[in-house]
Every structure is written in C-alpha cells, then in structure tokens.
Amino acid sequence: MPRYIIGIAGNPNCGKTTMFNALTGARQHVANWPGVTVEKKVGHIHSGDDSIELVDLPGTYSLTAYTQEELVARNFLVDERPEAVIDIMNADALERNLYLAVQIMELGVPLVLGLNMMDEVRSSGKQIDSALLEELSGCAVVETVARNGEGAKELLQTTIETAESKKGEWKPLNISYGPDLDPVLKQMQELIESESFMTDKVPSRWTGIKYLERDEDVVIKGRMTNTALSDKLEAMAAEVSAHTEKTLKAKPDAIIADYRYGYIASLIKDVVSYPILDADRISRSDQMDKVLTHRIVGPLIMLAIVYLIYQVTFTVGEIPMGWLEALFGWLGDTATNLLPEGLLQSLIVSGIIDGVGGVLGFVPLIMFMFLMISALEDSGYIARMAYMLDRIFKVFGLHGTSVLPFIVSGGIAGGCAVPGVMATRTLRSPKEKLATLFVAPYMTCGAKVPVFLMLTSAFFPENEAAIMLTITLGAWAMALIVARILRSTVIKGASTPFVMELPPYRMPTLQGVLIHTWERTWEYAKKAGTVILGISILIWAMMTFPQLPAEKIAQFETQRAAAQSEEQIAEIDNIEAEEAIRHTVAGRIGTALEPLSELAGFNWRVNIALTGGFAAKEVIVSTLGTAYSLGEIDAEESQPLAEQLVQDPDFSMASAIALIVFTMLYAPCFVTVVTMARESSWKWAAFSVVGSTGLAFGMAVIAFNMAKAFM
C-alpha cells in the first residue's frame, strides 16, 4: 500500500484551509510544528489503495525566511521532501499567487496548482485558460471551488498521479535573473556542486539564489556545513550586490523578485484574459468597502457589529445556558439527596458539580460567540478592523494586526487568552509581539465573563449589556495604555511595516465556521473537564481542611444545647460555619490578605476566590459561590450568589466595581502564563504576573475609593 506525504501550500485567504477541510473532513488533528508555535494541521485520507498524509502548511506569500510561517513551510518542503505539494491559489489574483508557486518550482518539489475560487473568476467575467497554464508551467492544473467542494476529488487524484509519476524526483525550474546575476549564479552553482554543498537536500542553484537574497537561515546553515565555501559565496554575493546597487540602484533580492514577476507575467500573458472594463465597473467587495470602511460610518458600523454580537450571544445563548444550569442544579440536588451528609457529599456537590457546572454552564455562550467571530474572520471583516484601527494602534506602539490577538483573547468578550496569546505569532516585530502578549490577557475572556455577568446582574440589573460593553471598552483602553507605557520604557523601538492584504468579502462557509467553533468550544470544555475539575477539587479541599478542632465543635454543641430559641441556634450555626471556613487553608490566606485587600473593598471571601483565580479565572465565581454557600446556615434557604453578595454588608457596589477592575487586569491564568512563556520567555511571563497584579491592585484601590466617594 503506497504512502504519500502531501503538503498544501498557499497564500493567506486563498481558501487553503477550506480545501483542506473539504479533503479531510473530520479526519484531521491539530498540533504545533516542532520547536515553533505555528499551528500544524494534519489529515489522513485513503484513496483506493493509497494512504495519504495531508499536511496543511501555514499560509504564506513567499518562501523567504522572514516569518516563522515561511520558515516552517520551507523547512517542511526541504526536510520532509513530500512526494508532492498542492499550491492552492486564489485564481482571481493569479499573478500574485503565482509568486509563491514559482518559488516552490525553483525548489523543484513536484507541484500541482489548484486554481481555487473559479466561481469568482467566472462571475467577474475573467477567463483563465488552465490547459495553457498547465502547458507553460509544466505543473498539473486543476480548477476548484473549495467552498462547495468542486474539483476537490479531481485535485486529490491528480496529486496522487503526480506523486506516483515523479517518484520523489525534484525538477527545479531555472529562471534567468538577468545579465548581472546570471553569471555569478552560474559560478556559485559550480562551486556548490564541486563540493556537494548541501546538495543532498536542495538544488545547487537554489542555494545560490538564497545567498544572493542574503537569506539568513540558509547562510547560517551553510556556515555550519562548510565555513570556507560559505564565506566565499557570501563574498561573491556582497560583490555583486555592491555592483547592482551602483548600476541599477537595487539589491539582488529586489532584482530576483522583479525577474520572478517578469517570468510570471510571461506565463499568464495569454492565460488570463480580462473582460473589457467599463470605466466605473467596481467589484462588489470594493463597493462594500466604500461603506464599511468609510471614515465616519465605518467605525460606527464596527461598534454596532461588536454590540450586536453581544446582544445575540446573551439573548440567544441564555436559553441553552438556562437548561444547563437547571441540569447541574438538578444533579446537585439529586446528589445531595442520595449521599449521606458529610465530606463525600460536600466534595461531590460543592467541589465537583458546582465547580465544573459553573464552567460548563458557559459553553453555550462561548459557542455562540465563537460562531459569530469565526464567521466574521472568514468573511474578511477582521482585516478591515485591523485596517481601520492601525492608526490608533500605532499611537500605542502596536500594530493593526494586534487586533486579532486582542479579539481572540476576548476583545469581543468571550474569547480566551490562550489562543489569543498564540495568535501573537502572526506579529513580526518581537517588540510589538511582546507588548501585545503582555496586554492581550486584559481582554474579557470567556472565563471572566461569568464574573462580570454575575456582578453586573447583581448590582446593575437594569443595563447589563451596556455595562458589559463598558467593561470591554475599558479593557481595550487599559491594554492600549499599558502597551504604550511598555513600548516607551521596557521595550522601546521602531514599528514594523503594516503591509496587508484586504481579502474580498466572502460568505463564510458553514463547514469552516462550524469546525472553528467546535475546535475552540471543545478546547474550553476540555479545560473545564480536566484542569478545572482538578482545581475545583483542590480548592474545595483548601476550603474544607483543616477542620475545626474537636473541642471547638464541642463548645458550639454545648452553646446550642443551652440555646433558648431557634433564632439563637441559627445564630450559633452561622458563627460556627464562618469560623470553620476561616480556619481552613483558604480562609487563612484570605484573612491574612484582608488588611491589604480592604483598601480595594475586598473581604476575605473575595480574596479566596481571587487566589483561586490565579489558577483559572473560571474558578472565581465557583469559589465565591462555595465560600458563601459553606457559610450558609440553611440549605433550603440557599440563594443565588448574586443575591448573597448584594445582601452582604461587607460587599458594596464600590467593591463590585473594584472587583471588576481587579479581575480585568490581574495576573493571567496559569495556562496563559505557560503559553506566554512559550511564546516569549519565562522572565517575561513572570513579569506579566507580577506587573499586572500590581497594576490591578492599584487600579482596584482607585476604583473602589472613587466609587465610594461618588455613589
């Protein structure tokens, strides 16, 4: 049974992932590329007797080594030597998409061109002669429409045939780079071949081109392989570079790019024919941009969209959320009735069912939120948001593309800082990346939403949506201000280029949106089922042990025996319960912090919850619930946490506001810290924990005192 490894390459926004989904369906798994944090998607398919491993390469415009994505894509081709590569191209922008294809051809990997989005090409009146393209490029060409799966089977079949017929043999394409570069390239090639310099992996001419392009990755590998020869090649490249700069005012990499485009122009001269355009024929997408990115209307629409996402999520998501809450309530009641009173009952009801239930209850909200964000991402609107916001971001030392990590982290409430922090890998400049990393966790992630929702519904029941919007905007403001401070102190430096494609607006496909939503929701639910379960049990233990010493309990017993009325007994129970929880590990931590936390209006119960929140923010609400319910006198009179908070004389509206501020800003959860360390360094992650918590406390104290003074 033949086995093939096949890579799928392509520009961003060319429908590559849609095609990958169409080809593999649900048979795919996600991981990270070894050593780097770029997402790796692999799918296994069987076609007849053949077993195929399909690897979705990161979307790139080029195969230089400027971004991690490009390097990953290139190293995959060089090191894994796939039997064939499919280059999915947006046929509607064939010329630019061929730039990547030509670079793959220069490497020599057997290549199949998937001309995707042919539906758009046809509707725009353009014509592409794919048979001629096949003849001129020497690569098999298949026309596809990934969104509806058209051509997917044929593409796979053609690729298998190509892999079979080429048998792993590489045939690099040789393009002329003009009278200045060709001669030196030829000399380089002879030298490289005479010493078999890296020729086991890549064609000699390709290595030469990379030396002319001053490709750091190749040059460093070259120096390690053969220092003398590498030095010689570098000197040759430097010499010709000095020459072309003098005569042509251009460096070799620019000249090489121009000749590649020249080659592409000659390829497609007769392949693409444009309709005769009447002067003001504008594509639908451009017309939409006239409104959606309009100077005044654009930002208003953007705000409206964010607000709409809120409304839909909260009004529609609330319904299944109610069902889940009812389910967990019923589970808790059943367990209470079935199990004898005591530690086991307490563990199962307070520790497990309440803890995990509190987290899983938000799954519907998160699903709706992701459903809409995925749709927005796939429609091309997020790129417009980056475009409209870049100027503002630049002021704060960030980059328009920082908007994506912000949004994923919860810039539109309900995200998660873990994928958000991971999304910073699309940022090229290490400085902007560090700043974005640091502040992205300030966003209103899905785990903070319950805290905010609970507090707003308790203290501001009239205008929940408006308050939530204010919180989100506040998080943005804080993130931007802190980023600005970081960029002018700890991480100074110039900004990176903002050169970005605005993909045409597209209807998102149902499959794509569902796969995205499923991946993210599942990630959240999995976290609830594993990490959170462990933490809830740990926290339950911290809040249960050590128990009051026997003589203390006996003391309360005697008091109760001596009591005259029901009320007195209740009073004694209450004092006992409170003393019991204060006696526990968590109670001691919370009480010890009280003198300090009082400045922000937090009592020891809140302190316990916030300490738990270091582990995972999801825990805040459930811990607070446990802290209050363990102190509860009568189980039958148990009230929702929100009402208990409102009635607690220790906890005022000012405390609620301070708690919102503190939760927004303090240390990211444990998983995020680990992710952060992986994306930057442990030092930076530690700085984030300490720095953010300090900032959060300071802001909470200010908020508490201001609220107390004015309300």
Partner: protein, 80 residues
C-alpha cells in the same frame, strides 16, 4: 507630462503607476511579496478613518499600507 510623486501624496481615486521602490530588507521584501513592483498600476481606493493607512487597489486585489511605508514608493499619475 505628469510628474512623479511620493505615494503618500496620492489622493483617493487617483490612478497611478509605480515608478520605483526604495525600501530594502524586510519592508522591501514584504512589499514585493505582495505584488507591488515597479510598473504595477494601482489606484487609491480609500484611506482609513484617521487618513492612515491607505488602501490600494491593484489589478486583482486590495492591499493596505501605512503612509510611512508609502514614503518608499514613488508613482507616476496616470491620465484617464
């Protein structure tokens, strides 16, 4: 005869042709990877709400760059 100018000075809806690109290194490569090379025809389709970045329409696609990056590109206005 029209005069060459810096892309930053271009007005919305103006039709232009790229004359030279002086950017080097990372910026230069990024610009070329996205298909901006001398000889390319484009027109400015819009500017972001704060007048920066600008959105450019090339033959087949739209891209956007900041004014500070447009400074590296000189263009010739096209009459139509």
């Amino acid at each position: 005869m029209t005069k060459d100018m810096c892309l930053r000075k271009a007005k919305v809806n103006q039709k232009l042709k790229i004359k030279t690109i002086s950017a080097e290194g990372e910026l230069g490569r990024r610009i070329r990877d996205l298909g901006l090379i001398p000889g390319t025809e484009l027109h400015v389709i819009g500017k972001a709400p704060l007048r920066d970045p600008v959105a450019l329409r090339l033959k087949d696609f739209t891209l956007t760059l900041r004014n500070s990056e447009a400074d590296h590109i000189t263009v010739t206005p096209l009459e139509d």
